[in-house]
Amino acid sequence: MKQKIQNVGHFLRWTPWQVKLSMLVMGLGQLCYGQIVKGLFYLACFGLILTYFITTGFADFIGFFTLGTNEENLWLGIPGDNSLTMLILGLFSIFILIFTVVLYVTNVKDVVYTARQAEQGKPIHKFRQTLETAADDKFHMSALTVPVVGVSIFSILPIVFMILIAFTDLGGDVVYPKLASWSFSAWKKILSLGKIGSTFVKILGWNIVWAICSTALNFIVGLGMALLLDKRNVKGSKFWRAFPILAYAIPGFISMLGFKYMFSQSGPINYCLDQAGLMRIFFLTNDASAKWWARGIGLFVNMWISAPSIMLMATGILSNIDTSLYEAASLDGASGFVQFKKITLPFVVFSTTPVLISQFVGNFNNFGIFFFLREGVISNYADYFLASDTDLLINWLYKLSVDNNYYSIGAAISLIIFLITASLSLMVYVRSAAYKQEDTFQ
């Protein structure tokens, strides 16, 4: 610690006045060294940031902690604070603060570099040279600036925002003009025995069953198709393969909406049942009898959409099996079935394990199927809270936070989904050799 203070003291004594100027006001030192464009750039950033914090940024920053203090008063005509907006603007001000620190550090580093150049009597970089460095030695930094800023604003900021929301009481009754505060109420509601808690348990149970069944079904069908097309007596396998690829290529939402029409109350299947003198069936309708029909149709439609991709993958894997293994096995008198059991299956299972897990994660979070097949269905008859009996956690999350403004409960569920997804994905990375050996490969 003492060493550090001494170092700082030494640094301050050594530095020429330009560096100190830059430490005070970004860009001034660069200007004094004659680096006009760069200096003006830093100065402009400094000015903008300062104006931002003086006008709104500082208030936003405070608002992040209070989540609003003025409640709307219609009698006096005072507009109230909107906790939701305040939270995100406050978060934004924190992001700007971090950005300011980063910019400040680069500014000081830059002027110190210039000071060293000047001290050693080397020519000071002109703006052209600065640009050249940006395109060459610092190419990775220049190239990644826009992606990093974009992802920060449109992906990281929203996700951090939702994580924070899980620890407030926003949503439900607490929406504008009411003020929110920091609390654990959402977690208590989910983990308690109330309606929300029981809905959560029911949906989680079905979600796990769904993920296992749909992954297994897709794999069995996909692998089966790949093996079928790989059979030696199949002629024109390219022609046959085109049909599953066709299903795979159609945008998913079109297929799902198409199936919704097909199974709809007045759709062709029910018409045929009617003509055959049978009762119409509530396939996807909001009715207690539709529960298992809809779940079954969901499994089928998901298979129809996803199994072809498993088939394509399995075909690639099958073509990598060493054929001499089969020859040796035939010489030893192994039958076709034994060969399949002892060679093909272990090989395919071994090479697809990482994909299997990521497929499981994908199916666990399969939003589309029940969103498109049963949009807006809420099973009140089965005591679900703003969900249908086919909904997965992710569908419930959508209905809660986008359709019905139950922000904090939705956010808490997102976090639970994240925990499940993350622990499953971690298994993939631990198991996948490619990740470990990435650097040795090159």
């Binding site: 995100i88 050249e132 395109a135 060459d136 190419f139 990775h140 190239a143 992606p147 974009g150 992802v151 604003i153 449109f154 992906s155 900021l157 929203p158 996700i159 925002f161 939702m162 929301i165 198709m225 079928l228 007596n233 046959w240 049909f243 690829i245 066709l246 299903a247 795979y248 290529a249 159609i250 945008p251 998913g252 939402f253 079109i254 909406l257 198409g258 097909m262 759709g267 018409y271 045929c272 003509q275 129809w304 394509l312 690639g316 990482p354 994909v355 990521s358 497929q359 994660v361 199916n363 979070n365 999350l397 986008v402 922000y407 956010a411 989904i417 994240f418 993350a422 994905s425 990375y429």
Partner: protein, 282 residues
């Protein structure tokens, strides 16, 4: 090769195999065929269909799709050009950003690289639309609600998150090529534009097309950000068609699905590679 004799066992095997193949083809082809024929039906409503296939055929639905917007309710032509605009712009910006990210992550070793790698991995594990409420508020603050630019911003800005496929491709280009170019005095920017890009034409095509195809099938985000019917994209429009306009739905779907299907058939090899390499997001 010796020609094998057709024993009864073999014949049964053949029969079984081809029955299975035909069954598979019917399952996958039938719904597509059903939609295509429905788009050619003369009557529009699902209630008028007697069974699966229409009674009379005509091209009228396709003509109506573009010329008759049912009193401004279903302006497919506007939706189509909206989506085309969004898709073109976000394909342009998104491709540049994702290629740059993939290239830098593949070729450079720098401070913070591992942080970026881990952050993107973690971000991929959150439910996709978890932040949609926040996106909505951000877009409101930026005054971009009901503007197509909001979609372009979002699609382009989040495109770099899927950089793994591009990185995998750049990883496979031998390092010696880059080293030779560097020895010849090329700057890193020149190496990227003059050496890497010409070598990566197929990856470039793949990236542009996948970026271009996404806005055509995304429903959630445009549904949230675009409230005005005239601002909708095709996917939102089709999503909101009622059963009485079933033929219109079929025609609208077929019209955008055909180019996408052709595209997939051309790209099937790349997509298989992407499936196995980039199977991170599930």
């Amino acid at each position: 090769m010796k020609k094998t004799k057709l024993t009864p066992r073999r014949a049964a095997d053949n029969l079984f195999t081809y029955l299975a193949l035909i069954g598979m083809s019917v399952i996958f082809l039938f719904p597509c065929l059903w939609l295509i024929l429905a788009s050619l039906s003369k009557t529009g409503s699902l209630y008028d269909f007697k069974g699966f296939f229409p009674q009379e055929y005509s091209f009228q639905t396709f003509i109506d799709l573009f010329n008759d917007d049912v009193n401004g309710l279903y302006p497919y032509k506007t939706w189509f050009f909206n989506t085309l605009y969004v898709a073109t712009c976000s394909a342009f910006f998104g491709t540049i950003l994702v290629l740059l990210t993939g290239y830098v992550m593949s070729r450079f070793r720098f401070q913070g690289r591992n942080t970026i790698k881990k952050t993107t991995l973690v971000l991929g594990m959150f439910p996709g639309f978890m932040g949609m409420t926040a996106i909505y508020i951000i877009m409101t603050q930026l005054g971009l609600i009901d503007k197509l630019e909001s979609l372009i911003f979002y699609y382009s800005a989040t495109a770099p998150l899927g950089y793994m496929v591009q990185k995998g491709y750049f990883d496979s280009i031998p390092n010696t090529i880059f080293e030779a170019a560097r020895l010849d005095g090329a700057t890193n920017l020149q190496v990227f534009t003059k050496v890497t890009l010409p070598l990566s034409k197929s990856m470039l095509v793949y990236t542009v097309l996948t970026q271009f195809a996404w806005p055509w099938s995304d429903v959630l985000l445009p549904k949230l950000l675009l409230k005005d019917r005239n601002m909708w994209t095709v996917a939102v429009g089709l999503f909101n068609l009622p059963e009485t306009h079933f033929a219109r739905f079929a025609a609208g779907s077929v019209f955008i699905a055909i180019p996408i299907v052709i595209l997939y058939f051309c790209l099937v090899k790349h997509i298989v590679n992407g499936l196995t390499a980039g199977s991170v997001k599930g």
